[in-house]
């Protein structure tokens, strides 16, 4: 990169464009919308974990005064699901229920109270099926299968792949670490409960407002299940009151309420209760992991064999991707020359798991960072030094064919080590006090779309107004991360206008070009690059027209401060931005430009290579200081230092907010958040409430010192990388590692509860966590040569993908 450019907005802290709207109560979330004649919808949910539906009788409910319509699954036979390979959900279960909470019928009534009462008048007869709650049992053959599809028994997906010869690498090692680690499931808990308003228009079209992170995917699912062309359906994503991945699947309630609106010809709204939000779930998978790491005495890693067993819950959701993600990113932080990954995702009769902040990479990162700590201990090295000497080089390709661009991990580690006084304090604090370090990495946007296509991942259209206003249209959804602000800032920076002169029009499938959605930390990079392209095209037109009028060569013109001026005579030869638009419109006609973004092609070509690649990875390192009470096992986190390699911060205030928010959410996962079910009580969720699902309060949140590592990345807009998810990842392992520093015990499980800490203190081997790992019965491991072995990115025979001889994909 050339020398650092001077920007008006980029890199600075500035007020977000929707800030005052949110702080004055103006922002309309989905449940804030009301319409004349609006009906209220509620869903009847299964109260049994696994059963065939024998009959559903809605007649008594339908006869109630105020009940306008009832709906069952029979009228919506088409399935849907976020991934093309797991279209296994129905808007309402037509024939079978798979967990307590699965919806079977819907009611539309004139008040929410009547709708609620009507649910009690719907009679469902079930024929019970054997439930399965335990992944270890699910991998054995089952009589009552949860789904008819999948790999075997209640196994949804098996993955096994090997890059290089891991057995040989482990044989060759001086030490082999062998750890079994468990990461309990947890959930997003957005403050806003999901809500959807569906409006049937007189001309047969349907408009839907919803708290969704992915209006484009909801658009597709809605069209499929309702059997309506997408051109007649308009999805508008309202600002989300928090998402974190919890609103990135299309949901049954969104489709059921739309169907009720179509059936009744009236607007129809559904707002979930907090309990129902727990049933929507799609949060962190519980994952049991087994990791073997080979080490040389000099501190280098010879290879890793990593296994993961995922408890997927009742449906596919993003699960196939989640499974791959539990194996994908182990290689992008440290040099791992040989690597094998076996992953199994099972179906169980519990709410479905899916993507939560850090999707699928959080659990293995916990396991790997604990193992790195143990490895350093075994080798008698400092954990920070050990990590520093193993950092993956920049501009490299990993053993599993992931392309690495810039890496700021070294600087991240150095910064947190320095700021926390690590060298003087780690291993030297009084008993009970400890410091722990961990690192991580995350993708800046998934390299591939969720359904196969070669179209852009994000598109931006600009419309320039004669009065100097600019409207930026984009399908991206602001879920609180600040994407509206990033869009406006990118456009304002390039066109040289005030950010408040840019109006954003977002997440409306009728009005805005597709952006795939607010997931995988993709929006800033992808939307940002598309916005820059669109703005540069507009600037070209303005400059061309202004150059004619000002009689200076276009190359000398600069757009800044709401003006277009001659860089050699800024005071004499200039015009206002609005004048430039007027001249440009006279010269070229209506001014509208477009930009689009598609990630670069990735080197991996084997089956499964689609999960893991990204334009560029972000990196983080964190040090946690805590006090662990050896009598109670309680952990009190005192301070967290975190450094994040962000490329460049588009908006410093929002970037730091993302880091701190990620640390917060990570701390909740580290200490207290868990999704637990009562296996012996019909598989009910143990605690579907905000009181008993423990989200840290102000009193649990310690001081956080955030350091941004900024070296612009060639792939990012102005050099920016992701910040929304990565900073969460190092927190949990850093807590576990700090507990070891404090008390000399290993808690190989997350959350690190007082029970586990105490049991480790009281145990002989000073450890708590899972004791064994089941035999996954892996028989067919795909072999792929690493770059070092001279591979071509595809697998060996017979796993090689048969490619048709066609034109190469565009670069």
């Amino acid at each position: 990169m050339s020398k650092k450019k001077k920007y008006k907005y980029i890199g600075k802290a500035f007020t977000k464009v929707d800030g005052l709207s949110k702080t004055t109560g103006q922002t309309k979330y989905a449940d804030d919308l009301v319409m004349p004649r609006m009906l209220y919808c509620k869903l009847l949910r299964s109260d049994v974990p696994h059963a065939r539906i024998v009959s559903i009788d809605t007649s008594e409910a339908e006869a109630m005064d105020g009940v306008i319509a009832c709906l069952t699954g029979a009228s919506m036979p088409n399935t849907f699901g976020i991934l093309p390979v797991s279209q296994d959900e129905h808007a309402l279960c037509p024939d079978k229920v798979r967990f307590v909470g699965d919806p079977v019928a819907a009611v539309a009534a004139t008040t929410e109270d009547i709708a609620f009462e009507a649910l009690k008048k719907i009679h469902v007869e079930y024929e019970p099926l054997e439930p399965c709650y335990d992944p270890a049992k699910a991998i054995k053959n089952q009589t009552d299968l949860i789904h008819e599809y999948g790999d075997d028994g209640n196994v949804h997906k098996r993955v096994s792949m090997e890059f290089g010869d891991v057995d040989a690498a482990l044989d060759d090692a001086d030490e082999v670490l062998d750890d079994v680690v468990f990461f309990q499931g947890n959930t997003h808990l957005p403050m806003e409960q999901h809500a959807t308003l569906a409006y049937p228009e007189a001309d047969g079209r349907l408009t839907v407002w919803s708290s969704t992170q992915t209006p484009h995917y909801l658009h597709k699912a809605m069209s499929k299940v309702l059997d309506m062309p997408p051109s007649r359906i308009r999805i508008i994503a309202c600002p989300n009151g928090g998402g974190f991945g919890g609103k990135s699947d299309p949901f049954n309630h969104e489709i059921a309420v739309a169907k009720l609106a179509l059936n009744t010809g009236r607007p129809c709204k559904i707002t979930l209760t907090r309990e129902e939000v727990f049933y929507c779930h799609r949060g962190r998978h519980p994952v049991l992991m087994h990791s073997r790491m080979g080490l040389k005495k000099d501190g280098s890693i010879t290879g890793i064999h990593f296994q993961s067993l995922l408890d997927g819950g009742a449906y596919g959701s993003y699960g196939v991707a989640s499974t791959y993600y539990t194996g994908a990113l182990q290689t992008v932080t440290y040099k791992v020359p040989t690597y094998r990954f076996d992953g199994v995702r099972t179906f169980t009769n519990k709410p479905p798991c899916g993507p939560k902040r850090g999707h699928g990479t959080v659990q293995p990162r916990f396991a790997i960072e604990l193992q790195m700590d143990k490895a350093a201990e075994k080798l008698g090295m400092d954990p920070a030094e050990f990590r520093l000497m193993n950092i993956q080089p920049e501009e490299s390709i990993t053993a599993n064919w992931l392309k690495i661009r810039t890496i700021g991990l070294r600087e991240c580690i150095e910064k947190v080590v320095e700021a926390s006084g690590w060298k003087e304090r780690h291993g030297k604090l009084p008993r009970g006090h400890g410091l722990g370090l961990a690192c991580s990495s995350y993708i800046t946007g998934a390299g591939l779309p969720i359904y196969w296509n070669s179209m852009p991942h994000s598109g931006v259209q600009l419309k320039l107004d004669r009065g100097g206003g600019v409207t930026a249209f984009c399908g991206a959804t602001d879920i609180g991360q600040g994407s509206d602000t990033v869009l406006a800032a990118c456009v304002a920076e390039i066109l040289g206008v005030d950010i408040m002169d840019v109006r954003v029009c977002v997440s409306d499938t009728d009005l805005t070009p597709v952006d795939l959605g607010s997931y995988s930390s993709r929006v800033t990079l992808m939307m940002g690059n598309a916005a820059i392209e669109a703005a540069e095209k507009a600037r070209e037109k303005l400059v061309a027209a202004a150059a004619e009028k000002l009689e200076v060569p276009p190359v000398r013109l600069v757009c800044a401060d709401n003006k277009v001026f001659d860089s050699e005579a800024p005071e004499e030869r200039w015009m206002s931005f609005a004048q430039a638009v007027v001249y440009a419109e006279a010269k070229f006609g209506t001014i509208g430009t477009v930009g689009s973004y598609k990630p670069p092609r990735m080197p991996g070509r084997y089956r499964g290579a689609g999960v893991g690649p990204t334009p560029t990875y972000s990196y983080s390192a964190a040090v946690v200081e805590l006090f662990a009470d050896e009598e109670t096992g309680a952990v009190d986190v005192k301070k967290i230092w975190i450094a994040h390699d962000i490329g460049i911060a588009i908006n410093r205030a929002l970037a730091i907010g993302q880091v701190e928010g990620g640390v917060y959410m990570g701390l909740g996962e580290a200490l207290m958040e868990e999704m637990v079910y009562r296996d012996r009580r019909n598989g009910v969720h143990k605690i579907p409430s905000m009181l008993e699902y423990k989200s840290p309060t102000t009193l649990e949140m310690p001081e956080v010192e955030t350091m941004l590592v900024e070296h612009p990345d060639p792939e990012g807009p102005f050099g920016a990388k992701e910040v929304g998810q990565g900073p969460l990842l190092p927190v949990m392992p850093a807590v576990a590692n700090a507990v070891h520093d404090a008390l000399g015990v290993r808690v190989d499980q997350c959350p690190v509860t007082p029970e586990l800490v105490l049991s480790a203190v009281e145990s002989k081997n000073k450890r708590s966590g899972p004791k064994s790992y089941p035999d996954l019965k892996i028989t067919d491991t795909m072999r792929i040569k690493t770059p070092d072995q001279g591979g071509d990115g595809d697998a060996d025979e017979p796993w090689r993908i048969k490619r048709k001889k066609k034109a190469k994909a565009p670069k």
Partner: protein, 324 residues
């Protein structure tokens, strides 16, 4: 949105009238509303009639009497009481219990009387109607089985009040006024029925009108609370302790709460302290005896075995605090 069912709402202005309505309409009482409204929204209870105490001026305020007795009107909010410096200094156990309750916002609304009459709580009870239907309801709420202890004929819902064990330890007296008249009851006697369905020894129409805490001449007291978060959470173990005597202990009270349907007095542990100085070995013996006094079950946050273990630690820490 979780909504309330319909009910007749009565707001009497005098206690006798309130008691009469409760008896006639089989009404439930609401003070601050932080316990009853959520329970009604979850349809744990669906009273046809609710009597509000908010306009009973006689139940408000608090004052220190000349003899050092503190009289508190049960409608005093927790927040008002925690801001009273004299409460903080003279009754540290009560003050600690109050400030530990839920959140500042809920303490603005919640009353001391409400906390002392808090309904018992259980993971199988404090759930929505739909959830409870999935387990076929529980003994306390229209069902036939206590899911906490399926063989049991009694309900194991937990007394989760922070102030109840403190009131017992401080030897408080409550004045109750019902349709049939007024009586005084010792705090220890109000909670002694060990069943989560019927945890208060009082008639439904008896309204708590006064909370009387006697002067704590020479007694030192404290309260410790186990929970996951320092805000919002109910206790899953509460330890109120009081001792008298410099040098050797003359009198001791150790009361556990949130370990079962009723608070538990650790009589054996108390006895072990009398006549001894609060030194390590005395405390060690007392805490071992205290641990035997309660058997928490799996119907609150934290593992029951862990809660049991924590009795040892919390009793020890409470006594150590009082020793200093």
């Amino acid at each position: 949105m979780m909504r309330l069912p319909t009910f007749a709402y009565r707001v009497p202005t005098d206690v006798a009238e309130a008691a009469k309505i409760i008896r006639e309409e089989n009404a439930m009482i609401v003070a601050g509303g932080t316990d009853l409204w959520p329970n009604m929204k979850r349809r744990q209870v669906e009273p046809k009639s609710v009597v509000a105490l908010r306009k009973l001026d006689a139940l408000r305020g608090w004052e220190w009497r000349a003899d050092g007795t503190l009289r508190i009107g049960p409608m005093a909010t927790l927040r008002e009481l925690e801001r009273d410096k004299r409460v903080e200094e003279e009754l540290p156990a009560l003050w600690k219990a109050i400030v530990s309750i839920s959140t500042p916002l809920l303490r603005n609304q919640g009353t001391l009387g409400g906390n002392l009459n808090l309904d018992t709580r259980c993971f199988y009870l404090n759930q929505n109607y739909e959830w409870r239907r999935a387990i076929n309801h529980c003994l306390k709420c229209t069902g036939h089985t206590c899911w906490t202890a399926p063989g049991s004929t009694k309900c194991w819902a937990v007394n989760s009040s922070d102030c109840v064990p403190v009131m017992i330890a401080l030897d408080a007296t409550f004045v109750l006024q019902g349709a049939d008249g007024t009586r005084e009851v010792k705090a220890a006697d109000l909670y002694h029925v060990d069943d989560g369905r019927d945890w208060l020894v009082k008639a439904p129409d008896e309204i708590m009108t006064d909370i009387l805490i006697p002067p704590q001449n020479g007694h030192r007291s404290t309260y410790l609370k186990l929970r996951k978060r320092d805000s919002f959470d109910f206790p899953v173990l509460g330890v109120a302790a009081r001792v008298k005597g410099n040098g050797s202990v003359e009198a001791a009270d150790i009361i556990l709460n949130a370990v079962g349907p009723a608070p538990v007095r650790c009589s054996e542990a108390e006895k072990a302290l009398i006549g001894y100085e609060l030194k390590a070995e005395t405390i060690e013996e007392a805490r071992a005896l205290a641990t035997r006094a309660a058997k928490p079950l799996d119907n609150t946050d934290h593992m029951p075995s862990y809660r049991k273990k924590m009795i040892r630690v919390y009793v020890k820490r409470a006594l150590e605090e009082l020793a200093n």
